[in-house]
Amino acid sequence: MSLFFRLMWKSFFRAPQWETKLVVRILIGFFGLYMFVSFLFLGVGMYFILEEQFPDQSPMASIQPWLLSYFTTEFLIRYFLQQMPATQLQTYLLMPIKRSKIIRQLLVRSTLSFYNSTPWIIGIPFLVVLSYKEGFQWGFVAWWIGILSVILSINLLNFMVNRSNRHFWIFVGVAALSSGLSYLQIFELDAWVGKAFERLLEHPWEVGIYLLVLALVYQSTYTYLRGQIYLDKGLKKRDYMVQNLDLPFLNRFGKLSIFLRNDIRLIVRNVRTRQVSFMSVMFLFYGLIFGTQEVYLEMPAVLVFGGLFVSGGFLMTFGQNIPAWDSEYYPLLMSQNLSYREYLLSKWWLMVVVTAASAVVAFPYLWLSTQMYAIILAGAVFNMGVGSLLNLYSGVYNQTRMPLNVKAKAFENTKAFSLVQFVFVIPKILVPMGLFYAGYRLISFEAGLAVLAGTGILGFVFREPLLNALAKLFMQQKYKALAAFRKQ
């Protein structure tokens, strides 16, 4: 044990730039703490939120129909983000440990994942408040165990689903079908799931069924993995079907098309980049948090915060890792006769087009409020003009090798970000908020929008000199980046 600790100690303090890493770790620690506390508050506050939103129902009754949506979302998040620890198995195969034991440990270890924590940090506080308000019932415990069993089952099923895209698409198909049927009120699966859980309150012993299901899922995952733990089966690298991505329409971009085509292939064909795309889709909904609250409508500068993320999710998640996305083959790029300006311009186009598309796709915000959508549009112009260049600029300092076809661990994406990235939040987010606020305070809401969008247009006007300056900066950072991107 002490040996293990000593190794960790060494690896940390002997790492390059450990001082900055320490600061970043502390920041990440704070971020984790922040997440933990917000979940805790959500758990405590859930009773009161439900009470306020659904005054004619008891909070416990009003939560039931949402459970299915919750499970579905959780499944999706897991599919894209949760890293399965299966890859470390190979090391143990030759050691004198029984295969069955290796798998059991793997399964148990996976339940300790961050992704299984919600029943504990949201569920338990909610039930404590509920018991305090309405009196304790054994049904609550049964209900909680029921939910925990479902979440753990999803966790286990993920071992199987993760190995094939087909399972995933079947799942998406079923989910789409059931939400369609539910919307048309033909068959409301979510209501049925809600009822099943509601029964647990009255008949706590039915939780046995849930536990039985969990046990069955555990056993079948176990059997599945037991058959897979050979080098030529589950541990074999998956051979992917090649997607044809010739994208002939890109040819009209001339020389630029070489890079654009490659960047699109990069995004579509790698796990890590698909993860980023998923995150950017999630960011489309980020504005809902702000747009649905009366309080924020009085504070449009806060809406700008949300609005910038709605259109800029891709910009920020993809952009801040340029050129790290190309880290696996950076020496190749650097020894080719290519123009850095074209390389950067291709990334610029990609960010601008996706940002514009996100702003268009976000049009349902119109129903929420015209103000909100106007802010999203103005924010998009800012993101396209200024944000795109800012992200290229901050990416220069993000010199960490990025393994493309490996999922990030929870919070690993935050690890890649350096102190510099943190400082860049100011121009990326706070400055546009300030710009809007200045115009809004001094003149009017519309003036605030004009200032925000106008700054974005300035970015377009000065694109050429700024891009050239960036290309020069990338050139200067070349040796540093090459050294940092090398395989450790």
Binding site: Y240, N262, Y329, L332, S335, L404
Partner: protein, 235 residues
């Protein structure tokens, strides 16, 4: 073609490469041998401007490599897997390199036909990403991509490693032809003394970053090299 002057590279105070002078004339096939840590890969990285020299300079085709990028148009290299793009198929990778080197895709296709026996039907038309290929096949992709557009200078680090015996023999013939028929300046490093003495007309032996021997290849060269490496392993 390549002219090295007063080149030094230190890492944390350790001198890892020290080449006061080294001239490689155009069309020469130049072999670099030495144990691990001798400075072979460091030299190649310096030559490709992937590492900054602590002192001195390299010119390639008359241009200082750090000054401008002209030399990249006639220089190609395959050092390691970091020169491959894993999420492309071999065809797509070849096309990308061809586009960067301004070779049109039709002549690329017919040119690639010439390597069919080297590829053994395991590379083209298999609909697999490079990252899913075996190490040997990945190497073949990298080596052949290097030759696209007939570069005047070709730099290969350990080209024979990971290849199966018959591919090694084919590669040997390929490289010999390349330097004899097209006057390509060829720089290769290898741990295989047999292969490298067969392919290269000149062998430079590095040890701890300095040139120990600089030989024009003769039938005795292999013996000389073997004697040298046997003697330093006994120290």
């Amino acid at each position: 073609m390549i002219d090295v002057r007063e080149l030094q590279k230190t890492y944390g105070g350790n001198l890892v490469l020290d080449l006061p002078e080294l001239k490689i004339p155009a069309g020469q096939s130049f072999g670099l041998v030495g144990n691990n840590g001798a400075g072979k890969t460091t030299f190649f990285s310096l030559l490709l401007d992937l590492v900054e020299p602590t002192q001195g300079e390299i010119t390639n085709g008359g241009e200082k490599i750090q000054k401008n990028d002209q030399w990249k148009a006639h220089t190609a290299a395959y050092i390691d897997q970091d020169f491959l793009i894993g999420y492309l198929t071999p065809e797509e990778y070849f096309e990308l390199i061809a586009q960067l080197r301004q070779v049109d895709l039709e002549s690329l296709q017919s040119w690639l036909q010439g390597f069919e026996s080297f590829f053994k039907g395991e590379i083209l038309g298999r609909k697999r990403y490079i990252r899913d290929l075996s190490k040997g096949n990945q190497k073949k992709v990298g080596l052949i991509a290097c030759l696209i557009g007939a570069p005047k200078v070709v730099v290969l680090d350990e080209p024979f490693a990971n290849l199966d015996p018959s591919s090694q023999i084919q590669l040997k013939d390929l490289l010999k032809n390349l330097s004899e028929q097209t006057q390509t300046t060829l720089l290769i490093s290898s741990h295989d003394l047999n292969h490298i003495t067969e392919v290269c007309e000149r062998i430079v032996l590095l040890d701890h970053g300095t040139v120990q021997q600089d030989l024009m290849t003769t039938p005795e060269t292999l013996k000389t090299l073997e004697t040298y490496f046997t003697s330093i392993s006994k120290d």
